[in-house]
């Protein structure tokens, strides 16, 4: 039997066992049948996302499918008709589950995708990189800083993978002109994926874990695009500077001069101008919701509508949208929905005496667990699994209140998910950098681990400061 089959078997057998256990076996007061089924679905999701016997987006679709059949109001008749309604629990509206495919968060990401696609198609990314890189001259140290700043900036609006691919394709030809044995090659190659990972923290659309977080930041915990950036940008800048210094310390550059050449010039046609203007306008609208009242989800439709109307994104381009990323997030939202709507989240928190733990221990545990998990599996899948549980803690543990409550712990955990960049398998950007063949795993792991630890400490510091200034 192949290891893939064994993984599949484990991922199916364990949840099925949980499903078949008598309800008394759980030792949870008042657990309903619906809640038991949600536990089984959650366990299945966790095993499928960790072991990956099937693609991670397929797991998301499986979650939605199973929820619809097993715990929705329009599920399979024979298993959703209760003998005794009290022990059975409450079914979840099938519409709510299906809505996760088009939730405002998904639309926000779709808007981000349209912006990124148009920027790449009309070479806005490349031309902007060229202009921004110019002031950094030819001193390798400063060129590297420029490279990192630009990568981080772009990855706030484009996918981390696309940003890394673009910056590495600029960088790789230059690596050949480094002096033989110059460790600086390693520094440069690592600078790109690290900056992309850190930059993703900067905006709500920077990386999919941020999208998942938005599901748990509603009502009084709502966070606007602008206030997300106001919170995250200082953090990104500090961590980026730290990463820059660390890479230079570990892998000093001995090549005296580096010149990154970026080809091409600004497109000057009607469609290109529409792209430039729409890009600027969308970001402006995202940052000024307090003036016009449209929230970030509504504003995300601006690029979608404009680019489609003017044929800037055409039918063929639509096929290039990463539907797998959107559906991966949808599945996470559906999982969170099931936990909340079935009442399971609340019951679990009430059953386990979290209230007696120190809130600091809870914060440190969940952020460290998130960071460790995300090193070995998809960042998005990690946040899909951990954030619904964290949000349940956040909303029910009173002692977290003075420290910033739910909003604080959700944001801290989300940032931790993006801290994982120690291994080639940690993120697609890391894998791409590793594939250039300029570095070994341990050369990536050493700075990666240090950045993650410092990132966590800075994360706590940020939350402390935000709490003091009354951000939460």
């Amino acid at each position: 039997m192949t290891s893939q089959r064994i993984k599949l078997l484990i991922s199916i057998l364990l949840p099925v066992t949980v499903l078949l256990l008598p309800i008394s076996a759980f030792q949870i007061e008042g657990l309903t049948i619906v809640e038991q089924r949600v536990i089984a679905i959650f366990l299945m999701a966790a095993l499928f996302w960790i072991l990956e016997p099937i693609p991670i987006y397929a797991t998301s679709l499986l979650i939605i499918f199973l929820e619809l059949i097993m715990v929705s109001t329009k599920g399979l008749k024979f298993i959703i008709t209760p003998d005794s309604p009290e022990e059975f629990g409450t079914l979840i509206s099938y519409k709510d589950i299906m809505h996760t495919f088009a939730s405002p968060i998904i639309i926000l990401f779709l808007g981000g995708f349209f912006l990124a696609m148009a920027a790449t198609k009309y070479r806005l990314d490349q031309n902007l990189a060229k202009v921004l890189l110019k002031p950094f001259g030819e001193n390798p140290k400063w060129v590297m800083l420029g490279l990192m700043i630009i990568t981080a900036l772009f990855s706030m609006f484009m996918s981390n993978t696309a940003t890394t691919a673009m910056m590495l394709s600029i960088l790789v030809p230059v690596l050949a002109v480094f002096l033989p044995g110059d460790k600086g090659k390693v520094a440069f190659t690592l600078a790109v994926p690290f900056a992309a990972n850190v930059g993703g923290i900067g905006t709500p659309i920077g990386t999919p874990p941020n999208a998942v977080a938005l599901k748990y930041l509603t009502g009084p915990d709502y966070i606007s695009f602008g206030s997300w950036m106001a919170m995250a940008l200082p953090y990104v800048i500090v961590l980026l500077l730290f990463a820059w210094g660390l890479l230079l310390l570990f892998y000093p550059i001995s090549t005296p001069k580096i010149k990154l050449t970026i080809t091409g010039s600004w497109l000057k046609n009607r469609k290109a101008y529409i792209v430039y203007a729409t890009f600027g306008l969308t970001i402006l609208l995202w940052l000024t919701d307090f003036i016009h009242g449209m929230n970030s989800y509504t504003v995300a439709m601006v690029p979608v509508a404009v680019f489609s109307a003017f044929g800037i994104i055409n039918k063929n381009d639509l096929k290039n949208i990463s539907w797998d990323v959107l559906w991966l997030v949808s599945g996470g939202i559906a999982l969170g929905l099931a936990l909340e709507a079935s009442g399971l989240a609340e019951r679990l928190v009430n059953t386990i005496p979290f209230g007696t733990f120190s809130p600091l221990i809870i914060i440190v545990s969940v952020t460290v667990i998130a960071m460790l998990m995300a090193n070995f599996m998809s960042h998005t899948a990690t946040s899909n699994l951990i954030l619904p549980l964290v949000a349940a803690l956040g909303t029910s543990i009173m002692s977290l209140g003075p420290l910033g409550g739910n909003k604080m712990i959700v944001l801290a955990t989300t940032i931790s998910c993006s801290m994982s960049m120690a291994l080639p398998i940690s993120t697609p950007p890391n894998a791409l950098a590793f594939a250039t063949g300029t570095l070994e795993t341990k050369q990536m792991a050493k700075p990666g681990v240090i950045i993650a630890i410092v990132g966590l400490i800075l994360n706590y510091a940020l939350m402390y400061v935000l709490d003091i200034i009354g951000f939460f």
């Binding site: 981000g112 995708f113 696309a162 394709s169 949208i321 990463s322 791409l432 594939a435």
Partner: protein, 160 residues
């Protein structure tokens, strides 16, 4: 991981041996099949396709008894099952006319003259396999070690 095949066709056994020896670096990710005639190559390719696997690349000689390499290339390019398959004509004896025919009527991807240089051959195969993997939309991560970085990076720039 999807199974990819490289099909090598040459009527001279020694050439085939030398060629497959030079392709050893790809063996961890791709299966390499040796065929001594066009007919044998076609049978192997149909078998691969029937198994649901992929003929990623065909490397063929030109001058062989019965059917020539260009015959094979033309038949391949007309067959929808192998629409994405990449092709290399590896020969010392193709005439000008053969070559033109291979490009115009059989969409030849690459022409390499015998005797080949190992490094050039590797680079070409990497590029073509990368294009095949991306054209077919296969999971590129599983083949990372044998892919051409710049082709891959340029393609991933379009990721949303």
């Amino acid at each position: 991981m999807d199974k990819l095949y490289i099909i090598c066709v040459d009527d001279q056994r020694e050439v085939l041996n030398a060629l497959t020896e030079d392709l050893e670096v790809f063996e961890n990710h791709v299966k390499i099949e040796e065929c001594e005639s066009v007919k044998e190559a076609w049978d192997v390719m149909e078998e691969v396709d029937n198994e649901g696997d992929y003929v990623a690349l065909l490397i063929t000689d030109q001058v062989m008894p019965n059917n020539t390499g260009v015959d094979l290339l033309k038949k391949l390019s007309a067959d929808i099952r192998f629409g994405a398959t990449k092709t290399i004509l590896l020969t010392g004896q193709a005439t000008h006319k053969d070559t033109i025919e291979a490009i115009n009527s059989a969409h030849l991807n690459h022409y390499i003259e015998k005797p080949w240089k190992k490094d050039d051959l590797h680079a070409t195969i990497k590029t073509l396999i990368t294009q095949f993997v991306l054209d077919k939309g296969l999971e590129y991560q599983s083949y990372m070690d044998i892919l051409d970085q710049s082709v891959l990076l340029n393609n991933l720039r379009k990721t949303t």
